[in-house]
């Protein structure tokens, strides 16, 4: 019985060490070179280049990007070694500490749009957050679907986006018997600054990531 207080104190200390180490800042999840080419990330790198230049560190943006990439990789390698002994504790006891929440605003978000082709004409059936195009909105607007669709807007989730497209196609076949094709795409735009909103000069966007599925083949 005399040993128990010491054992308990040691276990509690181990728990605290495990969660604090795991919670230390990490770029994990963002370590994808194609994601770094997104204008939102490039904008961040440009802002940090300006900051570094302002304090006398003369570096160009590509140099800052390369330095950040190398530092982040080295840090992640070291972090992996330190966390390795605790991995079973995180996995089986649900003690992951991944708190990278809204680390930066996405200045170039994508708004999912779904169209169906009927008798040779495209018709919009769903636009994210639209009051007019609301096909299956109770499902597609759910917070878990928002999380998934947000990810599909990034290039490195292309495979998942394709699987999602097949699911959408199957639902379109159920709901629109005459539909010939379905098209998914993201309207990608730069979010307007306060000045642009106030002066009604909001920037135009463009459609990206078009995924067109022939429903005749799927029927």
């Amino acid at each position: 019985m005399k040993a128990w207080p010491h054992v308990r104190a040691a276990l509690l200390a181990a728990h605290l060490l495990a969660i604090v180490l795991m919670a230390l800042p990490s770029p994990q999840g963002g370590m994808n070179r194609s994601a770094w080419k997104d204008p939102t990330v490039q904008g961040e790198l440009a802002a940090w280049t300006l900051r570094l230049n302002a304090v006398g560190i003369g570096m160009q943006q590509p140099e800052v990007e390369e330095l950040a990439w190398n530092l982040a990789n080295a840090y992640e390698d070291g972090r992996g070694v330190v966390l390795a002994p605790f991995m079973p504790y995180y996995r089986y006891c649900g003690t992951w500490q991944s708190w990278r929440m809204f680390v930066a605003p996405h200045r170039f978000p994508g708004r999912l749009t779904i169209d169906v082709m009927e008798r040779g004409e495209w018709r919009t059936i769903y636009v994210a957050r639209s009051a007019d195009h609301t096909w299956r909105a109770t499902q597609l607007d759910h917070d878990r679907m928002r999380a998934a669709i947000f990810r599909y807007g990034w290039r490195h989730y292309r495979r998942s986006y394709g699987t999602f497209g097949s699911w959408v196609a199957a639902r379109v076949i159920e709901d629109f018997p005459d539909a010939e094709r379905v098209r998914l795409r993201f309207y990608k735009y730069r979010t307007a600054s306060p000045e642009e909103v106030r002066t009604h000069t909001e920037p135009e966007g463009e459609y990206t990531g078009a995924l067109i599925l022939d429903l005749k083949e799927l029927r």
């Binding site: 308990r8 649900g94 708190w99 499902q139 878990r144 679907m145 998934a148």
Partner: protein, 307 residues
């Protein structure tokens, strides 16, 4: 140092605060899993694409043993999760119920990492703390079965409540330290919240009107960032308020200026705003469940006695 740590871990108090936390966690499980069932999404996000789902999912060992991520298995697990959450809230089955609930939650929400968020991790962390701590000592059916009363003054280790508060502070502090964007940090224009609220992925309705109150969003950004980065101060304030009878100038200062309460008030405003303006799932309810541990057991009794 070690002797002091062992002595601290051996201190006890009434189990009211961790019991309230356990009840809140049970309700959060019901909300988190039940909300997916209510939206008719189990077959969509938790079932594998091979059986009609929208993703290639990653089933746990338990799911594989039950027959894989098929509609029947995943629906069964989802309803079992809701039931386990109810038992946890009622306080029947002690740590075993918390463990079963944790496994069921992992079987469901972890199966598709793309259709979830940090709230899933926070929920699992909270459930694990219900496994570690004796949360059914009071305000539970376990207590009633043991004493024929729903409440009890039986002592529990204070460490259980500290673990909950530390988890909350670790979450806020960690997310704050990772907000390195020029939109968040001092030296920038504190426009992060304005721009985040423009993202269609998360807002509940069109937020362009914020352009007309932009300085308010800048203030909110700055307050959020400092509040999160300096969250460890909250832990200190909590500890000082729990040991207010002990000497020390810093302790007296923190208690006199209600630092713990001020931090909690900012948190309540933060999560209230989040609930109204953004759809980020059950993140706010789950976070607020942890706030139950910030309230001392004697304060819960005072609150309960108020008409």
């Amino acid at each position: 140092m070690w002797a002091r740590w062992v002595a601290f871990c051996s201190r006890t108090e009434a189990g009211t605060s961790i019991a309230v936390f356990r009840i809140a966690m049970g309700l959060c499980v019901m909300l988190t899993v039940g909300w997916v069932i209510a939206a008719d999404l189990v077959d969509v996000i938790w079932v594998d694409a091979a059986y009609g789902g929208m993703s290639v999912v990653h089933p746990s060992w338990w799911v594989a043993q039950l027959g894989g991520p098929t509609p029947a298995v995943m629906r069964g697990l989802a309803w079992a999760g809701v039931g386990a959450g109810a038992l946890l809230a009622l306080g029947l089955g002690g740590r075993l119920t918390a463990l079963v609930t944790l496994v069921l939650v992992q079987c469901t929400v972890d199966i598709n990492g793309e259709a979830g968020g940090s709230y899933d991790e926070l929920l699992q962390n909270g459930l694990w703390l219900c496994v570690l701590g004796p949360t059914t000592t009071t305000l539970s059916l376990d207590c009633w079965l043991r004493t024929r009363r729903f409440t009890s003054d039986a002592p529990v280790g204070v460490w259980a409540r500290y673990l909950i508060v530390i988890q909350l502070v670790v979450m806020y502090g960690s997310t704050g330290l990772q907000k390195l964007s020029s939109y968040w940090t001092p030296g920038g224009d504190f426009s992060a919240l304005y721009y985040i609220l423009q993202q269609p992925s998360w807002h509940r309705f069109d937020m362009r009107w914020l352009a007309y109150v932009f300085p308010l969003t800048q203030l909110a950004t700055a307050v959020s960032w400092f509040w999160e980065v300096f969250a460890p101060v909250w832990l200190l304030a909590f500890h000082y308020s729990a040991t207010a009878d002990q000497p020390g100038r810093a302790r007296a200062f923190f208690v006199r200026w209600h630092v713990r309460e001020v931090y909690a008030l900012i948190g309540l405003v933060f999560h209230g705003s989040l609930l109204v303006l953004m759809d980020v799932g059950p993140f706010s309810p789950i976070s607020l469940a942890f706030y139950a541990a910030l309230v001392h057991p004697w304060e819960w009794r005072t609150l309960a006695r108020r008409p």
